[in-house]
Symmetry: C2
Subunit: 351 residues, 2 copies
């Protein structure tokens, strides 16, 4: 039986979204760990901190005062990696010393007025407001920019420097590497196989039920067959949806609900506020709005860093950086581990 | 003037070895940091620890006793990600659920009998013994395996779980992703431009002297034009050399010397034992030994995680994982920072 085979022997699996392979070495979970142990996250975050620039009513680095907001709140990043007016470095360069202009905007989006909540601890109506705001930002920024990257770095371990629940939105005048790669893979898949890659994949995973973490009428969250991070998941609509902006009201409700369940399950796994980086990939925007993007299927990636416990992470280092990504347990073992974990109430709570 | 331009405005730079772009946002170093601060490494490592499985004379997990070695010592990893006899998962699979056999060996190589030294604190003759052993392993494992990845994870921050100076060698029956990508880029460059990519690059950097960290008659260490990690470097021979095994005695001496100077400079930057992952890339081996590999030039990559100080690292998270790698200072700014730092004696010492 395939499941038994791949749980006991190393093998390679193909990632059709990135055209790469991952080395799966199930037996590596057995090795003892005497390396770095992560600090536990501070879990006494006050609901309102007068010194936190993300809280309602507070003053930010640039002197602006935040409104007394009730649900989401969006503002420009005070230290943006992308600005709208950077000059062009000039073309006609040597092939080994090529540069290009990079223009864009970086926004920060608070999810909630309180610092002591996270998405899984928020109510469904409040999560729907987050989704609606994401779609709104995609309309605004996507009207001109070809790529609008919505992403959340959650937890100090993922480089997040503010405990207030928030995500970021970076829009650029170029298609970033990962977008270009995913676009190419999805385009070629449609051409060769006649169906959008992730639409077919969602159907097959829904049938197999071997790697499904949580599901509802409109959505599916799976540990993808080609996952690289130990507890990586892929969130997929069941219908062919190209962009966040195309979700119906019912699909937004379903999304809020499946996100709450997925993230509750994450928190319950090691009984902490689970760290991760997540982000949305959908068909490119701006000039691409006028082009055929049938090969695209909207999806979100969740990349959590932990491996064995709240304190022991997976290090993607030497071999992974220089040769190939490697994982220490199979996606099917993750499902097995996760089956007993509830998605319906938070064992761990901030407050 | 180009240097001034790229130090003040964001732009993209092209990585010709990976066919990707990096977002360079010089002005981001100005932002305040209130996120995670790394633990200082323990610096009281004893010269010999009776409980460390890497020290001479000690017993390892599998019951074997280490010899009383005097310079390098190589043994099989007790928890290998790759084993020689893994069965084949079978072919003819669905394009979305593809797997392949992965076979290989994982070895550990101690650099020195003492736990309280690192490469930059070792003598040149002892570093030459490390280089000779690397070449020997490339001959042995490379006789059958197409890819032999030599890499060092240094420091707890880079997932290293044993302070004893050592590296790892993972040989595989497949070309890993990074090897495949680098092979393709170098092959196409030679075809289009008539000269091996990295041979031409080394010549141009040697002439420009804008990104050179240390150099000698046979070697050059540069912060590559397309560096992604803040203090990333690329170590290159000046002569066209395809593999570690092709280095002359003089080139091995020169390599020992430039490694000692480069790593001393790293240690002196923040006055700690500088963490990094490093590894060698050279022409593939095994069946490829009989093929033309003229496009390949041997090189080593150094990927250090730190950004601002011994305690503040660069997080390659949300945007970097989902969209594109981003750096917060230019390679030329790194050179400017590093110019005043000595490479000739260790300010920081373990003992
Ligand atoms: O083999 P080690 O040193 O125990 O493990 C370290 O290096 C490996 C190869 O880069 C990684 O897969 C591990 O995540 C890391 O902790
Ligand atoms: O913008 P922040 O949250 O300060 O910064 C964080 O996310 C960015 C985008 O992924 C990264 O470039 C930074 O390294 C990380 O610390």
């Amino acid at each position: 039986h395939r499941w038994t085979f791949t749980s006991s022997h190393q093998h390679l699996r193909y990632n059709p979204l990135r055209d790469t392979w991952v080395l799966v070495s199930a037996h590596r979970m057995k090795r003892p760990w005497s390396g770095q142990v992560e600090k536990e996250e501070e879990d006494q975050v006050p609901q309102h901190d007068p010194n936190n620039p993300l809280c309602p009513g507070n003053t930010r680095a640039n002197g602006e005062v935040n409104p007394d907001y009730n649900n989401t709140f969006v503002f420009e990043n005070d230290f943006p990696a992308l600005q709208p007016n950077a000059p062009d470095p000039g073309y006609n360069q040597h092939p080994l010393f090529q540069s290009k202009a990079a223009r864009g905007v970086c926004k920060v989006m608070c999810f909630h007025p309180w610092s002591d909540v996270t998405l899984p601890l928020m109510t469904l109506p409040d999560i729907i407001k987050v989704i609606d705001k994401w779609a709104e930002l995609m309309v605004d920024l996507g009207s001109t920019y070809p790529w609008v990257q919505i992403f959340e770095n959650k937890g100090a371990m993922m480089g997040c420097s503010n405990p207030h629940p928030h995500c970021q939105v970076w829009a650029s005048n170029f298609l970033p590497n990962e977008a270009t790669l995913s676009d190419r893979c999805q385009r070629e898949y449609l051409k060769t196989h006649g169906e959008p890659l992730l639409l077919q994949y969602a159907k097959m995973e829904a049938e197999k039920q071997e790697r499904v973490v949580v599901q509802n009428a409109d959505w599916l969250a799976v540990v993808p067959y080609w996952a690289t991070w130990p507890f990586q998941t892929l969130l997929l609509p069941r219908r062919h949806v190209q962009r966040l902006t195309n979700l119906t009201a019912q699909e937004r409700e379903g999304l809020a609900s499946i996100m709450k369940r997925l993230l509750t399950k994450y928190d319950n796994l090691f009984q902490i506020s689970f760290p991760y980086s997540m982000g949305w990939h959908g068909a490119p925007t701006g000039p691409y709005l006028k082009e055929d993007q049938f090969h695209w299927q909207l999806h979100a990636h969740y990349y959590p860093p932990l491996l064995r416990s709240a304190g022991v992470r997976k290090f993607m280092v030497g071999y992974e950086m220089l040769a190939q990504e490697q994982r220490d347990l199979t996606p099917e073992q993750v499902i097995h581990l996760g089956n007993s974990i509830t998605a319906t109430y938070a064992i761990y709570k901030h407050r």
